[in-house]
Structures are given as C-alpha cells and as structure tokens.
Amino acid sequence: MNSSSGDEATLNEVLEHCNDLRLAPIPDVGSLPERYTGTLGHFPVYFPEEIAHAAGLLPVSVLGGGNRLELKHADARMGSFVCSICRSTAELGLNGSLNGLTGFITHPICDAAKHLAGIWARNFPEQLSEILYLPQNVNSPGAVRYIAAEFQRLRGELEKRSGRGVDDDALRHSIRIYNQNRRLLRELYALRRDEPWKLSCTESYLLTRARTRMPCEDHSVLLERALAAARRRTLPSQDKPRVVLVGGFCEQPPIEMLEAIDSNCHVVDDDLLIGLRWITADVPEKGDPIWQLAESFVERSAASPVQHDERKTKEGYLMEMIGASKADAAVLTAAKFCEPGLDEQVAWAKHLDGTNIQYLVLEFEEKMTSFEQMAMQLETFAESLLFAVAA
C-alpha cells in the first residue's frame, strides 16, 4: 500500500466511525471512560461543555432524530407546526432513548426550544432539565457578569447531580482540552477554505459531529489523524463553484443533502454545528475559568440567527463568511417551521439581491428522505455559476 492509499484508508476508517457515531444512540454510561459518571444532554446551539466535562459528565449534543426516526409519541405532544428537531427530540425523550441522560439543557434560542424544558419537566421530572438562560443582549455592560452567574449556577447544579465538586483547576484543565479541540476544528475549516477538494463539507461535518458522542480529548485525537490524512490527500481540484452554506445552525440538514451540495459545489464555509465551534479563539487558560468562559461567549464568538448581537448583523456575518472564504456564491437554507431561520433566509436573500453574489434558497427538514429535486436545483445553480464565472 502506498502512503496515499494509506491516508485514504485512514480517512475512510475515521469517517466510517464518525458516521456510526452519528447513527448511534447516546453512549451508555457503562461504556464511558472511568472519569465520566454520566452523560449530559444539551440542545443546540451553544453550551459550555467545559463545565459538564469538568464535572465528569459527558456532554452529549442532542441533535434530533434524523431521517430514520419514526414519531410515535411526539405527534400528539407537539403541534405539526413545530420544527422537526424539536419534535424528534421530544420523541427521543418519550420513547426512552434519552433515559440514560443525567440531564437535558436547552436554551432561549427560540420559543420552540424553550418549550422543550416544559416537556421535560412534565414528562421526565427525575432528570435535571432546564433552560440555560444565555442572554440575547451581549452588548450591555454587565453581560459577562450575568453569564458568569448563570454558568456558576450550572456548575452548582452539575456538581449536585454528578456528586463531584468542580474546582477551578478542573475547569481550567477542561478549558485546555477544549482549546486544543477548537484549534483543530479551526484547522479543519481552514483546510476546506484553502484546499476544498481535500475535504468535503459532508466529511468535515461528520468529523465535527463526532464530538457530540465522545470525550473531547478522544475527539481531538481523531481530528488530528483525519486532518493529517486529509492534508496529504492527492485528489485533483475540481471545477466547482465555491459556496458558503448557511442555515444549519440548529436543526441538522440530512447527510444526503450535504452530499448533494458537495456533488455540485465546494462548500468553503458553513454554519453547521456552529454551537460546537461557537468560541472562535482560545479561552484564556489563566484567571477565573468561569469568567473566562463567560467573557469568551461575548468577546470571542461566532454568530447565528438565534443570537442577537449589535456588533454582528446577520447580513454582515454572511458577507464576512463569503469574503473570508473567497466564495462565489451562497446556499441559503432554513429548516421548515424554523422561525428564526426562515426570517434570516429572507434577510440574506434580500441583501444578496443588492450585490452581485448569486445564491440558492433551499428549505429542508431533518426527516427528508427524497433529494432528487434538491439535487437538480443544485446542479442548475452550480452550472449557472460556472457559466457566469467563465463568461
């Protein structure tokens, strides 16, 4: 075997493992490394995983049920007008798939997500279930102090549940582990930006998503292997337009949809799983760790349709993504019934109308199973872009 096929084999093996994790149930507590005493579920978008990690609870991102889950209970409990990720998350709770969680934390990203806390309170009172009230005003003085208080509250709750005290050193240790992971994720996205033919959006997504089912330190090892192999890939660059993909910040687009986009475009940046990449630089490893996490949420953070921040208009950050990744165009998606996503889609499209940047609007649902029409739209879009670039 030459080294190039060896790299390909490594990458395939890692990606296959990631895909298995994507489809796997939440980890069973018995199967976790010794330092973990339980799992803590959290809903998108951002959650300070370091605090759970330090408490010995494996943070498990609950990302809905994908397109293989049949809704048997949730239909009667959540209206048909609610987005799929909320309905399928409720289903996973009601069908017992999340019984092993020590707790489930949701956020004030939208009203449907806040209602999940009520559903948990009514149906699973034995689990720690709550809304972590991350602020929608990060611009007023006092925001960091408030977030620190909220994180401190969470720390106390998790200490109670896990039976393990979380001292500052433990937190700093967790921050170091996550900083390392964040650096690797930034490298992953840099590779896609610089040499997109070496790593597709689907592959990068699978690699990132694996962190939702494994300890962060193990995920970093996995990322390092995958990155090394991908960098050495000798695939030829392809004649595809460079696009950014937005709208995947919460409900997850089906993998088949990402594959359809990859077949036609190089996705040079995206907002998929943005919560796992929310902190955009290292969290300072010295000083009060809770304060540093809180300050990072405000000062070193990404953007999404569900976070208001005067410094980052929604059109502004889209344009920055397009500019920084030297994209030719944008794919603007929104999950069906996702009010914030649908509002943003209109705003983005109207804004791009005033520029010479082309875009394609797609609506998706995690439970979609048919992609032919979407593939055709993407093909036409990509062709028209290549034609425009050539002309």
Binding site: M78, G79, A90, W120, E130, I131, S140, Y146, F337, Q345
Partner: protein
Amino acid sequence: MTGKAVGAAANIADTAAAFDGRIEGQRLMRDWYKALEEAPARGQHVANVFVMGNAVEILRAFDFQLVFPEINSLQTGVRKTSEEYLRLSEDYGMSPDVCSYVKADVGLILKEHEHPAGRIPRAHIAIASNMCSTFIKWAEIWERLLKTPTFVLDLPGQRAGNWRVRPGDAQHAADARWVEAQFQDLIHRCEAITGKRFDLDRLAEVEDRVNKMVAHWNNVMALNRVCPAPYNAMLDGLTYIGIMNVYRGTPEGVAFMRNLEAQLKTKVARGEGRVAEERYRLLFSGTPCYVSMRRLVELFETWGGVFAYSDYLTFAAGGMDAGDLAYDTSRPLESLAEVTALAAQRGLSNQFFAHERLAQQIRDYAVDGIVFHGIKSCRFVSSGMADTRDYLNKRLKMPSLYIESDLIDPRYWSDAQIKNRVDAFFETLRQSGGAPPAGKSVPPATGRAA
C-alpha cells in the same frame, strides 16, 4: 351612615354603573391612535415596544410616544383588513410559517405605515425583550428595513419546572442586577436620542400609577372568580388588557382601571353575569383569533359557557398580576429591575411551564374545562400546548377542547369545523354530569386597595 355618605355612595354606584369598559376602552384606543398619528407634528420621540418586558416606565419618563406593533397587527385583524397586509408580506418573501403579527407588520411597512386606524409613526428606538424570541427577530427586521436602533432587553426567565424565586433571594438579586445594568444602558441611549436628562422622580411618578393600575387590575381579575363571572376574559378582557398596555403608567390608565373595578363590583353585587345563565366556567389558554373572536365567544356563550380566566390576560398584560408585584417608588430604578425580573419569571416566561400556572388557575377560577387555542404561527404560546393538555387531562382529569386557527389570518378560520368541535365539547360536558347552573360557590374575590 350619614345622609351625605349615603348620597356619595349612591353617586359612586351610579358612576360605576354608567361606566362601560368596552366603550371607554374603544375611545381610549381611538385617542391613542390619534396621538400616534400626531406624534411627528408634536416633535415627540417614538418608541416601539412589545407587551412582554418593555421598560415602558423608563420610556414614559422620557416622554416617548409608545407604539405597540403587536396591537397594530391585531387591529388589522379586528378591522378585517389583515389579509391584505399578510399577503403583501408573503409576496415580499416572508414564509407562511412565521408569526402572522410579524407578517402584518412587514405588510404595514410595505404600505408605508398606512394602518386602518391611522398612520403609524416611525420609531426612534425599539425595545425587544427575549420573552418571546420572535420579538427579537421582529426588531431585527426594523433594524434592517427602517434602520431603527434596537435595544434587546434580556430578562432571565424561569429556568425549570417548580422554579421558585423569592424577592431578594440570591437568584433574584443576580437576575435583577443584570436587568438593572441593562436599564442603565437603555437610559443612556434614551438620553442620547431625546437630548433629555433622565429624571428619577418622573420614573417614580409613572411607577406609582402603574402600581395603582396593577392593584385595580388584580382586583378585576379576582372579581371573575365569582360565579356568575361579570365579564368574559376573552372578549371584554381583551379590551381591558389593551388599556393595561397602551395606557400603562398614565392618569387615564389609572382612571380606567379604577372605574372598571368599581363597575364590575357593582355588577357582582347585583349578581349580574356576562351571560344570562352561566352554566360552564371555562379557562381559555392561548392567544385570541382576532378576526373571529366575537364569533368564537358566541359559540361558547350560546351554551352558557363563559371564559372566566385566560392566561392571555396574564402574559399579554405584562405578567404583573402574577404575584404581589408593586414598585417601591422610594428606590425607583432598583425596584423596576427587581419587579421586571420577577414578572418575567412569574408571569411571562412561565408560559414554557404552562401546566404549573394553569393548574393553579383551574382551582382559583373553579373552571369546568379548558379551551386550548393553538396557533400555528405563535410558537411562544402553542409549541407545548398539546403536551400541557395531556398532562392536565391526566393529572387533574380536566375536560378540555383543542381548537386551532390564527391570531389574525382569516385563512385559518374554519367556522363549521370549530363549531362542531365546540358543540361536541359541550355535549360531552353535559353528558358527564354537566356543570351546575349559576350560583356555584367559588372563592370570594379579595379586594385590595389601589
């Protein structure tokens, strides 16, 4: 009692009897729209605010003319013109699946602010709380389309089931401190916009009026615990909360609420109910369907069913009835933050744990059944409704009805279907023993001095 005192009491009773909350409410709403139209000519600064978590007290202290975009949107429904606004915004690109209030407002912007009640002035600032997340998305639309400076007021809400925050405890103190920091920031921004210095005495004055309004309002709510209920929470009640919002902290608002309480007390003393023979006391959970509200209420009242309470009267009136929430006017800003934080948890964001409040209201208002009104476009109210209903059915064996339409989109109103469901609900209530006719015993209203 002296002859003089008897005469005075008779006068009060006469005034109370002459007061008609609905007519007076409509007059005040007309005046408000007129004031809106004339604000630019007066050179008055204008602020857009929502009904849940809005810092009205601060804005009033700066003499802002207040615009309530939700009320503008619902008024397009009441005036049967909403469809035009909704279609305009959908043609513009808004999804059919988003809040219809937002869409009606985008329609209003596209119609250059021409509203059936008059021209709506453009705001110099918009305050959007996080109580309904849609408020923030809505305000971002103004930022984009109208360049309106926006202030997001972040109110830490109820975090979990059985969340008990008591005034002054550590959690409340931390939350209130954050709210106060934002108020300070807002005050600086208002000073920059208006060129006026903030006046704490003015704030205290406004707060004193709000205290009076809230005290009367609490008594008004409590009066409907009496059987027969003197008013319908989902018809008369809608006018009352309109005034609670639009005239919050004003002398007109205080007078309205005082007169309303007196009038309803007179009704109760005479044993007069909203319906001729009250047979079923009901609780309405959800938002109204403003295009067809009269019709909906009629479907219930023909069966002798009256909405004694609605959670809408709590969250859509700012959540101030949900506990002993009164401002301490000797420390107006701190107290504003403390009460705002408490109201956010006890009266607004507890919507996400609606079963707790509803279980309490079922007892307080001695209701025979709950009517849930699901609204596709309002996830704040509707996302957890089916689960809440299931919970209350199982735990409290509370008969309930679920109907669906929209706040203001007439395309979602299906008269025959809703009538069938309402009739079937009452048939079931009747067959299961029915409710006793008027006269059943419910806890007496506890009057409090305003």
